[in-house]
């Protein structure tokens, strides 16, 4: 190995498949009842779609955990992604399920949480900073509530009388 590439370099060089092709691999049909695409590479599975699967036999759930964490980082996400890719390589139908990176830790200590090296989820920048926008919706809801409380106090706090 001549030079070690940074995670973001590897992520940018990755050739991404359209999200519907990836979902087709785990038999999720390209129908509006099954998932909602959010651009070419991100989609949300509809909760209602999960109900249609309830009569199918269960698959296997593999949980990835780690030794007690240290500042060096053990690689739970990286290994989860690696294991999933390995399972696909040996012909298994497998998909990885990860926690969405939170913005607080990403901007604080971690600088991102989408795996590392050649075991990453992409599009890395979007997943770390925006993804489906659901976190931003929560932020907006908090902001709205704070503004409403401010406004209530501004017009004379009715709870004080």
């Amino acid at each position: 190995m001549s030079e070690v590439k940074s995670d973001i370099q590897i992520a940018r060089e990755a050739k991404m498949q359209p999200i519907n092709d990836i979902l087709a691999k785990i038999n999720v049909p390209d129908e509006s009842t099954a998932f909602s695409p959010m651009g070419r590479h991100i989609a949300k599975i509809n909760l209602e779609y999960l109900d249609t699967l309830k009569d199918k036999p269960n698959g296997k759930l593999i949980l990835v955990t780690a030794i007690t964490p240290t500042p060096a980082g053990e690689g739970k996400t990286t290994t989860s992604v690696g294991l999933n890719d390995g399972l696909n390589k040996i012909g298994k139908k497998s998909i990885v399920c990860l926690r969405e990176p939170s913005l607080g830790p990403s901007f604080g200590m971690k600088g991102g949480a989408a795996g590392g090296g050649y075991a990453q989820v992409v599009p890395m920048e979007q997943i770390n900073l925006h993804f489906t926008g659901d976190f931003h919706a929560i932020t907006s809801a908090h902001n709205l509530l704070s503004a409403l409380i401010d406004n209530h106090i501004y017009w004379g706090n009715r709870l004080e009388h």
């Binding site: 190995m1 070690v4 940074s6 995670d7 973001i8 940018r12 296997k60 593999i62 949980l63 990835v64 955990t65 780690a66 030794i67 007690t68 964490p69 240290t70 500042p71 060096a72 053990e74 690689g75 990286t78 290994t79 992604v81 690696g82 294991l83 999933n84 890719d85 390995g86 399972l87 696909n88 390589k89 040996i90 298994k92 607080g104 830790p105 990403s106 901007f107 604080g108 200590m109 971690k110 600088g111 991102g112 590392g116 090296g117 050649y118 075991a119 890395m124 920048e125 770390n128 900073l129």
Partner: protein, 221 residues
């Protein structure tokens, strides 16, 4: 780290320190087995890890009857995790479904906390003042006694003291506060000096996350 090596010295081979830290791995393997689940160890290879270190780790796992697979997915992608994948697939196909919870839903709440403290953290006792015990009692009276327990404590140790590395025993689990999450249907038990929503460090990662002149994001990793 669990063997007492500082982060900056991790790049220097130290098989003895690695062996010393293996008690932590052993404890985690034992804990997973308590749930009746099969367990496999993945050795996530870091570029500074040496062959001697990897060998010592894999040999140790043999002695505690768990297979460890060297994984190089970081450097080689899925190709580097095929051995692990085959072993995990084999464990899945054996289908030894003996999963069990540590405690039953009807177990009293304080007893549930004690079970986790003793079985998972290997603490000797749970410390809770009357206010906490009364609060647990009031949750039970209000019909929340069946909820599972979610313990919020430092992730850096089995104990509530982040500096106690490895596999500590003989410690106590002090309960500071309990919170009911009635929507999510669990009870959060806050132990020791943990922050459930930490603030930012003096120099946060955000300081080095920026757009470069090509309009690309830099500083994410």
């Amino acid at each position: 780290m669990h063997g007492g090596v500082a982060k900056d010295d991790l790049k220097i081979e130290n098989v003895e320190a690695l062996k010393k830290g293996l008690v932590n791995l052993q404890r985690h393997v034992e804990n997973v087995k308590k749930f009746g689940l099969p367990v496999a160890v993945a050795v996530n290879h870091f570029i500074k890890d040496t062959d001697n270190e990897v060998k010592a780790l894999i040999e140790f796992c043999d002695t505690i009857d768990v297979k460890a697979s060297l994984c190089t997915h970081w450097a080689n992608g899925g190709e580097g995790a095929k051995e692990l994948a085959s072993h995990v697939a084999e464990l899945c196909e054996k289908n030894e479904d003996k999963f069990k919870f540590l405690y039953e839903s009807k177990t009293p709440l304080f007893k549930k906390i004690e079970t986790i403290a003793k079985e998972i953290y290997r603490a000797d006792e749970v410390i809770a003042d009357t206010k906490i015990r009364d609060q647990l009692k009031s949750f039970e009276d209000a019909g929340y006694g069946d909820f599972p327990i979610c313990i919020a404590k430092t992730q850096y140790s089995f104990s509530t003291d982040p500096s106690l590395k490895g596999a500590p025993t003989g410690h106590s689990l002090p309960i500071r506060e309990i919170k009911l999450s009635s929507g999510a249907e669990f009870i959060v038990v806050i132990c020791g000096a943990v922050m459930t929503m930490p603030g930012l460090p003096r120099v946060p990662a955000a300081d080095s996350i920026k757009l470069n002149k090509d309009g690309e994001i830099e500083g994410l990793f």
